[in-house]
Amino acid sequence: MSLLEFENVTLKFGGLTAVNDLSFSVEEGEVFAIVGPNGAGKSTVFNLISRFYDPFAGQIRFDGHDLLQVKPSGVAAYGVARTFQNIELFEHATVLQNLLVGRHRHRRTNLLSEVFFTRSARRQELENREKVEEIIDFLDLQAYRDKMIAGLPYGVRKVVEVARALATDPKLLLLDEPASGLSVEETTDMRWWIDDIRRQMGITVLMVEHDMGLVSGVSDRVLAMADGAKLALGTPAQVQSHPAVVEAYLGKAS
């Protein structure tokens, strides 16, 4: 059974069909990339998984569960974490606090035990901190631990967002353009991190990305989309040489 399955999913905004009868599945342990020109519906696919939109038709299943029965705040509980295209961090909190929010889905305490900071709340906080420190070490964020997000450079924020998603201990990590706006060095770092996330942590990665160097470097399979529909699906090399993909990017040869 696949980890994530899209089955004939269609989403319309008024007259615009954002996602058109899309089917694909992501297998456990792979890095799966979605590419396509602007407005192809790549981010919409992510927002469908996050349950921000209700599809018009079709099925979305994650790990055997029907995702369409889950409310937006319930998706994380199944082990889906994500980043956003235009970074959505908690601006007026420190890096550490941001990562600790990522631990929210593992909360076992309630209001009273937290107000009185009981033994169980203390133990939980120690565990959370330990987990978060592991991720800080993994992504080399030590220098920024107690800094406010509002004062951080763009490249660091991008990494903090990945760190926050990892803090939730996900099975599936959704990366929405992890390399957009990054320098060449930062993109290379991101490439190794994505590789490590898959190999060391055993997390399946689904990403939307424009940087074909990064896509062909890390992904096992690539889905090319245009106008909300599937163009091609296969290895990076297959997709890049697929005639429909070339046409979508460069136009038809006349």
Binding site: S73, A76, A77, E88, H92, Q97, E114, V115, Q124, E125
Partner: protein, 273 residues
């Protein structure tokens, strides 16, 4: 009912009231939420008059001293005891808040404040979090109200008027929104301001060879100007100013002017909603 039972109940009941208010309020944001709560507080005035059998209506209720573990706490008779009672409650509530801020619930408040979309993606139930925050602040206000009743001795529908709401709002805006330090700084300043003003008025009067300056409404005018000044020049309040000064020294010489700017651009994924 003994005070030690009645006092916690005051908080619990107002907390429950807060939950019922939160349910319709969940759909509102920003200024509309402010208008809604303000309207409720005006409505409350009439409700107290209408519920005369319980509240005593316009005539109000009277409250003498209370006894806690054999100590008489009476504002007029034993003011020191009253001070210790208020201090104890303040310390306990503050400790509770400090604990809250270092545990998941407090962090989820911060998360919902800064980005609802990503809070949701982290598994935080927005509606629930907002309801809990309403209930909590209502419960603490209930305790404050109970202490205020004890302080005033007599209270009716006009004791808890909208003026108090505005004063509390001023405290938090001047002190610094969203921080425990700010609440204390604001309370100290708003608490001392009337005394400071009357001393200043006498001195200014003496300067011109007369007695005290008597301009009706001067206090409210100055209060208002201070509030406007803070909103225009330091929306993060005194505590925010302190944070900026601290960051300036920490990062010297790399401090940037827009470091604390609240970013609310259309580019953010918030347009999803």
């Amino acid at each position: 009912m003994p005070f030690l039972v009645a006092f916690p109940l005051a908080g619990i009941l107002t907390g429950i009231a807060g939950v019922t208010v939160a349910i319709p309020a969940l759909r509102l944001h920003g200024i509309y939420l402010a208008i809604f709560t303000l309207a409720l507080s005006i409505l409350m005035d009439d409700l107290i008059v209408l519920a005369e059998p319980i509240t005593g209506g316009v005539a109000g209720k009277y409250m003498g001293g209370v006894e806690i573990f054999g100590h008489l706490v009476d504002r007029w008779g034993t003011p020191e005891q009253f001070f210790w009672l208020v201090l104890a409650v303040t310390v306990l509530v503050t400790l509770g808040y400090i604990n809250l801020l270092r545990t998941p619930l407090g962090r989820s408040f911060i998360a919902v404040r800064d980005s609802e979309v990503s809070a949701q993606a982290m598994g935080i139930d927005i509606a629930r979090t907002k309801t809990v925050s309403f209930a909590l602040s209502c419960a603490v206000t209930g305790w404050a109200g109970a202490l205020m009743g004890l302080y005033a001795g007599a209270f009716n529908n006009e004791s808890f008027s909208v003026v108090i709401s505005i004063q509390l709002l001023m405290m938090i805006v001047i002190g610094g929104l969203g921080s425990i330090h700010g609440a204390f700084l604001g309370a100290i300043i708003i608490g001392f301001l009337p005394q400071f003003l009357s001393i200043a008025k006498e001195n200014v009067g003496a300067l011109f060879g007369g007695s005290t300056v008597a301009i009706p409404g001067l206090e409210f005018g100055i209060f208002g100007m201070i509030l406007i000044g803070f909103i225009l020049f330091e929306p993060m309040g005194i505590y925010g100013r302190w944070l900026k000064i601290r960051t300036w020294f920490e990062l010297f010489p790399f401090y940037r002017k827009d470091m604390f700017k609240r970013q609310k651009s259309y580019l953010k994924t918030e347009r999803l909603r």
